[in-house]
Symmetry: C2
């Protein structure tokens, strides 16, 4: 499992004997792998799932459990919201850009209702209740939430509707989702081979026909008659790949099960697969959205740089990629006390002062920096306006003494949300293999690689540079299903 | 030459007959290709250079002609500057980061004096005279200039010395450099095959043994007994690759000869080569450094975001990657008139006003935005200080009415520096193949690919995410030479 693991590929002619054979071989047992296995089984294909860990779940099980769904789901309707596929598409195109995958987003938005039905049919629970204020995940078990749709500039681009469908759970819901999907996969009769780390693709001419793997130190080989589906996750746990592709993430904490080592990406690359947008990342900034939205989010010289009511992942991307994570929440006592304790994730102010002048001095900002910013903010807030960044009126009012500052880089008290490593954010990679609409992996000339499919964070999926929660479990399960269906319907490779 | 050109590789067994044979085959005739050819010839190897255009030069010939050299060159000494390899190394590590190639930078800095000698031995002219104020290239034919070494934060990291060695020319010097190098290559007896576009690498097992190519529509094949060296440039002219890897560059003008289509990168990738830092770019922002440094460089809401005395390429990267190129130079009449006309590149103020309040209104900034910024700037400038961004005192004084604003996105009058496409900047890609210290191309497992070398902008070279002028002609010629030497000394591949 070392980074230096050779990534192959192996030649079919060098493989004397396959230890196992199946129609569809799925590598990785997170949400994309589970969805691929289910769809392939439902089409009558034999399926084996390889998983490096001792059980299913992967990084999906470590996630918040939000799935981006819309176009008028029963949960949206029950909560009193109307929505269309067109508005969903327009929002995702803008929020996941620049250069998001327009064709995939269109298909994903139009297929959203059907995908919601499929998920609930597997037994995934969603509660028809709505959480209305900015948060990473609701502190309740509410099932629907905003994921940035109701913030500038997106309000002008698409009719806002909340599309964060959160798998019913207290706290993070990824574990619940994966428990349900793994049970469904087992009931569907797929073979689950745990503790099995795929090492190399096996090629017969240009066609991928299986993999070599390692189980408890011993080599094993798998033949896939119809297709291999890579669902091995991203590369945020691989320090060398992070340095090569996304150096701004170096040293930050990682949101994963610890196994996002990028080897699946490298196996495919070694056989000629294309990668794209390798520098993009989700940035789970260690910031309490309900606090940030009530104050000013400022950089190292006291300047605001974004409307604080944007989806917190957008705040995180702006903070990391544009401000090097040197950011503070500036608010007043009144705002702090307005936020119920269970929504504060254990965060307390790091500095308190009677004037912004004292506060900027305590933080170590240039003389006048915070005072100038706060004075402009307050002057406009008195008129209920934010002409700088267009935060919604609902969150705009002049800040009053006493003032407080929260150093975002110090993280949160909650271990679930807190950062390990360099403070300020936990991240995962968004870049990866380039795939078509059926999950077919594309080579650098843009042609499908016969026998090879991929879904989830091993691919770049829907994403350009932007990210919205729910689009990883979302595109992982949606395009995982499509890859499973396509592989199951592929003609058998000759036994060779 | 279409983007959809299949990138190979071809199997040796499918090639009946090679049309040409040589020891070392160089693909691309810019500065890296010329340096590789010269070094391989000097070791007695037969060399053929393939070039898609009708003559040598490539994008190197379209460049400013700055080469990053130091450690005490005769030009530095003649101009009264002392320098060390250690200071050069420390500056480059910081300026080209995060995640610059430390081993390459160390070798490049320590080899700088020898490389200067080699260049002058080929006949490259450098004039021992110094240009001292911020500029993209001196408006004179001066041979030495600052490339950001004398600006915060770098002044605290390494003893500053100017290391911009500009090939003697009025205006851009890239053409002069390439005329000299191409003449030397021809005198050295390398075969030059122009109008020849390499299409696929030819592999014999894992070893690269040649290329297929196209000349006036007809296929031709080349065998390389010792090695193939890719020096085909970056991918900024390939809109599809830009969208996949560096979407923030979409629609911007490109600094190249028009042939940076990334095909060399794709040929190597198709054979399993690794790429890195594909989102990085040089950003030739269409801004007059001598004007910017005397005023405030501000974003769309009037905020400063960098010390204006940084190397203009750094201003460009900050403006593009952090401010979406929506930036303005704010200065006063006195500053504007201080800059001699020949240093203004034809730029005139787009807005003039008696107060910053009027100016912000004319530009369309929020009410108070520019006034708040200018007031903070002036308050500190009165004390000769810039506690926000640490611009050197030399450039700090309060701005006085009347004020002027220059919209950077409107570009410059000078066609050499002006942007085509979306305004504001001309760019080229910095990401590319991952190579070792001898230019050996590395596969995704980190192992050298037998018979394959690369140098120049087809590789990611020295660079992390940052960029300083002179490091492209610099690393192209330096590691081009090393690749040429290594390929020439490689054992012959069996005729197969």
């Amino acid at each position: 499992m070392s980074r230096q693991e050779p990534a192959g590929p192996a030649d079919r002619r060098s493989v004397l004997d396959f230890d196992y054979e199946t129609d569809v071989l799925v590598i990785g047992y997170g949400c994309a792998g589970a969805a691929a296995a289910l769809e392939a089984r439902s089409r009558g294909a034999d399926v084996i799932v390889l998983e490096r860990a001792s059980g299913g779940g992967g990084s999906s099980a470590a996630s918040g459990g939000e799935i981006y769904l819309g176009a008028g789901t029963p949960i949206q309707s029950a909560c009193g919201f109307t929505d269309t596929a067109e508005d969903m598409e327009a929002y995702l195109l803008a929020a996941l850009g620049p250069s998001a995958d327009a064709a995939k987003i269109r298909m994903y938005s139009r297929g959203s209702l059907e995908h919601y039905d499929w998920l609930t049919k597997q037994g995934v629970p969603f509660k028809p209740s709505f959480w209305g204020t900015p948060s990473w995940v609701p502190p309740t078990d509410d099932g629907l939430m905003w994921l940035g749709e109701n913030a500038y500039p997106f309000t002008g681009l698409a009719k806002p509707a909340p599309r964060g469908h959160r798998v019913t759970a207290k706290g993070f819901g990824g574990k619940v989702l994966m428990d349900v999907l793994c049970r469904a996969v087992e009931e569907a009769g797929a073979g689950i081979h745990t503790d099995t780390y795929a090492t190399q693709l096996i090629l017969d001419g240009p066609r991928v026909v299986g993999v070599t793997a390692r189980r408890f130190g011993k080599p094993v080989t798998y033949r896939a008659r119809r297709g291999v589906i890579l669902t091995t996750g991203g590369f945020a746990d691989n320090a060398e790949m992070v340095a090569q592709h996304a150096p701004q993430l170096i040293g930050l904490g990682v949101t994963s099960d610890g196994g996002d080592d990028g080897h699946g990406i490298k196996m495919a690359q070694a056989a000629g697969a294309a990668v794209q947008r390798m520098s993009a990342a989700q940035v789970g900034i260690t910031l309490v959205p309900a606090l940030a939205v009530r104050g000013m989010l400022v950089n190292a010289v006291g300047q605001r740089f974004i409307n604080e009511d944007q989806y917190p992942g957008m705040l995180g991307q702006a903070a990391l990629f544009r401000q090097d994570l040197a950011v503070w929440i500036i608010l007043d006592e009144k705002s702090f006390e307005e936020v119920p304790e269970n929504e504060r994730w254990g965060v307390l102010p790091h500095y308190v002062a009677e004037t912004t002048g004292e506060l900027e001095q305590e933080i170590g900002m240039p003389d006048g920096a915070l005072t100038a910013s706060a004075s402009e903010y307050n002057r406009h807030a008195a008129a209920g306006e934010d002409p700088y960044f267009h935060k919604d009126k609902r969150w705009v009012r002049p800040l009053e003494a006493p003032f407080a500052a929260i150093d975002v880089s110090r993280g949160m008290a909650s271990p679930e949300l807190g950062a390990s490593g360099r403070g300020g954010a936990k991240v995962f990679s968004l870049g990866g293999l380039r795939t078509g609409l059926d999950g077919e992996v594309l080579d650098v000339s843009g042609s499908p690689m016969p026998g090879l499919y991929a879904a989830g964070r091993v691919t770049s999926g829907l994403h350009g540079h932007g990210y919205i929660s729910g689009t990883s479990l979302g595109d992982g399960t949606f395009f995982g299903r499509r890859a499973g269906a396509a592989a199951a319907e592929q003609a058998e490779a000759p036994a060779g």
